[in-house]
């Protein structure tokens, strides 16, 4: 019996020794921490993000790393897998900060995950530059240590409503169908869309919420066919985009305008070239952007370099680009602060004002990037993304023959 109880106590003690402590800066390496979704429903985009981080770290290290106090440091990222569950993400963030001694964080994937992690980094006063949490509510909490390089999510699909209004003689007559996944990101996208719809006095004919683990949205599309709205607006991460593209084709849904998020991440142009023709896809970044920086070169240069490292992409999702940009922000901040003190780094981040391949980056008081616009692109008949800057550039109505 004593052995049994001995084991209880022994094992309990082992808990504390199970994970090694790591310093924020080890020798000549700066360690950034990130809990990212490598398994679970966000794994697709988690991987896009991780690849973006890794590519930036590689490029920066090859270019001589980060210079602080006259010395060069390499960057490294300590990853944990949050399994696409926010509770785990928060727990892992605490673990990165407390046990691994990480003092600079890169964000996770998705707004929900960022919402869970931001209170943690905030509590510990650890600066976090995130690239994948776009929900507006992240930037109304008064977080001092949260910085986002991307545009906020209400902007994703609001432009599509503007386009629909412009294309109509009387915006008040426009009928809109909405299908949004039940998660914090999509709900915020929806809020942005709803604001615009109210502004124009449009009519919402369908407002469906898609469950997180749904691989069939045929009932929503059946209603769309029956009600024939003027525009169909969808948001549901990669799975939502893939499912929608697949079933819009099968059900011959003929709506003049279809706008959805995550086209590139789900590779709809590649997998469903016929249906995807005419999809409007909001993007945080385009590879034809005429912005550049000394580290990654132009947007096109980054795109070429990233593809060379990750040959599986035909069209690089913006999730990877903004992840690289987040790492780049840290490099600039370290060098500007010329210190590893996390508050000095935090202040340096808040003062960052730079042009990058990803676009201009300048943070507001609340931590969101206010210098960079969102873009809207349309997929053409050959599976290429074409930038749509005004309603006139858009092919309308969508030109598909099923």
């Amino acid at each position: 019996m004593f052995m049994k109880h001995g084991i209880v106590a022994g094992v309990a003690l082992a808990v504390s020794l199970a994970t090694p402590a790591m310093a924020k800066v080890e020798g000549d390496t700066i360690i950034l921490g990130s809990s990212i979704s490598l398994t679970g429903k966000y794994a697709t985009n988690g991987l896009h993000t991780q690849r973006g981080y890794d590519y930036a770290v590689k490029v920066i290290n090859e270019a001589g790393g980060v210079k602080v106090g006259g010395k060069s440091y390499k960057l490294d990222v300590k990853y944990y897998d949050d399994e696409s569950t926010p509770a785990r993400g928060a727990q892992l963030a605490e673990r990165l900060i407390q046990q691994d001694g990480v003092e600079y964080m890169l964000g996770p994937y998705s707004s929900g995950m960022t919402k869970a992690i931001a209170p943690v980094s905030e509590k510990f006063g650890v600066p976090m530059v995130e690239a994948e949490g776009a929900s507006r509510s992240l930037f109304t909490q008064g977080y001092k240590y949260l910085f986002a390089v991307l545009s906020t999510s209400e902007q994703y699909l609001a432009t599509a409503i503007d386009f629909a209004a412009e294309k109509s003689s009387n915006p008040g007559d426009v009928r809109i169908a909405l299908a949004f996944e039940g998660d914090p990101f999509s709900m915020d996208v929806r809020a942005g869309v709803m604001d615009k719809i109210k502004e124009y006095g449009m009519k919402v004919v369908i407002d469906d919420q898609l469950p997180a683990d749904l691989s069939d949205m045929s009932t929503t599309l059946t209603k769309v066919k029956a009600l024939k709205p003027d525009a169909l607006i969808i948001s549901g991460h990669s799975k939502g985009a893939a499912t929608a593209a697949r079933q819009i084709d099968e059900m011959k849904v003929n709506v003049p305008m279809i706008a959805l998020t995550h086209c590139e991440a789900a590779k709809v142009q590649e997998k469903f070239p016929k249906t995807a023709n005419g999809f409007l896809c909001p993007t945080q970044w385009v590879e034809t952007l005429s912005k550049s920086d000394p580290m990654f070169g132009s947007a096109a240069d980054w795109n070429t370099g990233f593809k060379a490292d990750n040959p599986s992409y035909t069209s690089v999702p913006y999730q990877s680009a903004q992840a690289s940009a987040a790492v780049y922000v840290f490099k600039e901040a370290f060098e500007a602060a010329n210190s590893f003190d996390k508050d000095a780094v935090r202040d340096a981040i808040s003062k960052v004002e730079m042009e990058t391949f990803y676009g201009d980056i300048k943070f507001s008081e609340n931590g969101n990037n206010i210098a960079k616009p969102m873009f809207m692109r349309q997929i053409d008949g050959s599976g290429q993304y074409k930038l749509v800057e005004k309603a006139g550039d858009m092919v309308f109505p969508r030109n598909v023959s099923y």
Partner: protein
């Protein structure tokens, strides 16, 4: 909800046809994996939580074969035996040792298997959402209000063929009889010289093959990802619980019933409730059965 009802029954009643068709397509695929579960549950008392992951596995195999331009029927003919062998190996390595244990042992062991399979599939195939696009024509009717993609029709036909094959197999073959006998009384079967171990192994492998077939069909008509298995597991359990064990017609009926219920719930209450629908049916059936059993002074076990 009022709008949806009006839409369904007043403004455009023709879309009922579409909803019913979709329900049938959904039901056909669910019925396959559910029947496999009913078999392993009924015959060897194993509750396989990795059921959905077997389905997804079949889907990924189909995807890999499709990329090699293997025709659909051949894909089925390859995936089913491969999954059969896989099932047999799983049986030998783990299921054999947990057969006589209480139910929780099998639930947890197969949950472990499910975790393992998810991540292995993630490592092999990547986490991307995938699908097979057969690029087949889509039929439409009633002024394009009802569309039937040939891929779904083919799926339905294949599901029907497989189900018929299974019914004939269970009725006519020695293996089918041995499985049924074992399900009724394994001890008696053993005494009479039926090789129980082989019957069990066969049953489990057979279930894996059925799931594999369902997976092929899923990858043709919907989308797959390494972590989507749980949905199919939950639905299989809901169907089997509603239908009872070992009764193929009832399982098929319940499959269609749940498919239709799910689609109508989606059409009337909104898509948000589609996942909750099979679960609520499960709960209702369980409660209903309790009320019935209570009259007989029995409990549901």
């Amino acid at each position: 909800m009022w709008d949806n009802l009006q839409l369904l029954f007043v403004w455009a009643p023709i879309i009922n046809v579409q909803v019913i068709l979709d329900g049938i397509f959904v039901g056909a695929v669910f019925a396959l994996s559910a029947y496999g579960l009913a078999l392993v549950w009924g015959v060897m008392n194993i509750k396989n939580l990795a059921q959905g992951d077997f389905v997804i596995m079949g889907g990924y195999m189909a995807l890999a074969l499709h990329q090699l331009h293997v025709p659909l029927v051949l894909i089925l003919l390859i995936v089913m035996p491969v999954m059969f062998m896989f099932g047999w190996i799983v049986y030998v390595l783990m299921i054999r040792r947990i057969i006589d244990q209480d139910m929780f042992v099998s639930l947890l062991a197969t949950f472990g298997l499910s975790l393992l399979l998810q991540q292995v599939m993630n490592l092999i195939f990547g986490p991307e959402v995938q699908t097979i696009d057969m690029e087949l024509p889509v039929y439409d009717a009633f002024d394009n209000m009802v569309t039937v993609p040939s891929s779904k029709l083919i799926t339905l036909i294949l599901a029907g063929v497989i189900a018929t094959g299974v019914i004939i197999f269970m009725k006519r073959s020695r293996a089918g009889q041995a499985i049924r006998a074992t399900a009724q009384d394994p001890r008696a079967a053993r005494v009479l010289g039926i090789d129980i171990d082989r019957v069990y192994a066969f049953t489990f492998a057979f279930n894996a093959a059925l799931c594999g077939a369902a997976g092929v069909l899923v990858s043709i008509i919907w989308v797959i990802q390494p972590f989507y298995g749980i949905t199919y597991s939950v639905r299989s359990f809901a169907i089997v619980t509603a239908a009872g064990l070992g009764n193929l017609p009832a399982v098929i009926g319940a499959g269609f019933g749940i498919g239709l219920f799910e689609k109508y719930t989606g059409a009337i209450l909104g898509t948000a409730y589609e996942v909750a629908a099979p679960v609520s049916i499960l709960l209702l059936v369980l409660i209903w059965r309790q009320i019935q059993m209570r009259r007989n002074r029995q409990v549901v076990r």
